[in-house]
């Protein structure tokens, strides 16, 4: 299972009223390369911010807010997890795509391999938690994941042999912000 497999599966699973937020680095770049859409919002920097952004959107809209976070990114700002558990947005799905590495800077190891994110998510108050190691099992669970009452936490264990970079996001940050605001208004 690779980041690309996961992103393809998530983006191919049609949900009427969802928006997708991607953390910086290869997760944003691969998602942009696979299927750019007005429902997608990419962070090109500000590592660790995607989960709090998702929380702010989820609190202020009825849309399903899908956060595609990385292991390095969530480790950088882990304090957001208990805040999400405390606020309890039922429309938030928080994915951790865990390849044990800071991939875009040269695959340096993070410390995630030894961390039980699922126990943490439970302790922080996420309402439903999942862990997947096989893409086939993940695909068949997508309806359950998207129908669950959130906040939902999904730990995707990718491991060290991950897919490579996608293209750099070809839209200006200002345009990305305008686009997602418009999408959230119109959904």
């Amino acid at each position: 299972m690779t980041t690309e497999d996961i992103l393809r599966s998530v983006l191919a699973f049609k949900v009427d009223n969802a928006v997708y937020l991607f953390t910086n680095g290869y997760i944003s770049r691969q998602a942009y390369g696979i299927a750019d859409s007005a429902k997608n919002f990419y962070l090109i920097g500000s590592m660790g911010l995607v989960s709090s952004l998702g929380l702010g959107i989820a609190m202020n809209s009825k849309k399903k807010v899908v956060v595609l976070d990385g292991d390095g990114s969530i480790l950088m700002n882990m304090g957001t997890m208990p805040l999400i558990g405390y606020i309890e947005p039922n429309n938030l799905i928080h994915f951790i795509l865990d390849n044990f590495a800071y991939h875009s800077t040269g695959n340096q190891p993070t410390i995630s391999e030894n961390i039980d994110f699922l126990k943490m998510a439970c302790a922080c108050g996420y309402k439903k938690v999942f862990r997947f190691k096989k893409i086939s099992e993940f695909k068949s669970a997508l309806p359950e994941i998207f129908n669950a009452c959130g906040p939902v936490f999904v730990h995707m264990v990718i491991g060290k042999n991950d897919s490579s970079a996608g293209p750099r996001v070809g839209l200006a940050p200002l345009m990305l912000a305008r686009r997602i605001r418009k999408t959230i208004r119109s959904l």
Partner: protein
């Protein structure tokens, strides 16, 4: 001095009803009012960058939003400002307390007390001290946010709020 109810009523009148932050004793009465308010939403963030993230998310969802933080936490939002809010053009109204103003404070506040204004200037964040004529200061800040779509800072000294 500013009555906190007048302050929040004015902000709510401008549709600023979503806030996040990390407490400072300078904001004690302001935060008490917000936490107990039925109109204002206040999210107790775990760190200043998380407050910026949550309030920026609120903006992306169509709300007007702000943060309240202590100046000691200004460093935590430098990256958020430079690699997110300033380039994505996400305006968030920032109330930043001014601990260490004029050097009269505990040791841990003295350096940031001296550097708060120059840090904001260095980041090209429009800023001014909040005064008893708070409506004028808020209108100035909101005006810049609407025109330039960037965060604006209002610096709050000890004793301004009742």
């Amino acid at each position: 001095m500013i009555r906190v109810k007048d302050f929040w009523d004015y902000l709510a009148g401008k549709n600023f009803i979503f806030f996040s932050g990390v407490p400072c004793s300078i904001f004690k009465t302001v935060l008490d009012e917000a936490i107990n308010s039925e109109i204002i939403t206040y999210v107790p963030a775990v760190r200043e960058d998380v407050a910026m993230g949550v309030s920026s998310g609120a903006y992306l969802a169509g709300k007007k939003s702000g943060i309240l933080i202590q100046n000691s936490g200004l460093g935590h939002i430098v990256n958020t400002l430079t690699s997110f809010n300033l380039i994505y053009k996400i305006p968030v109204l920032m109330f930043i307390s001014w601990r260490g103003y004029m050097g009269k404070d505990a040791p841990e506040h003295k350096i940031m007390g001296r550097k708060t204004i120059s840090l904001l200037s260095g980041l090209d964040i429009p800023h001014r001290a909040l005064s008893v004529d708070f409506d004028k200061d808020l209108n100035w800040a909101i005006g810049i946010m609407e025109k330039k779509h960037i965060p604006v800072a209002l610096i709050v000294k000890e004793g301004l709020f009742k």
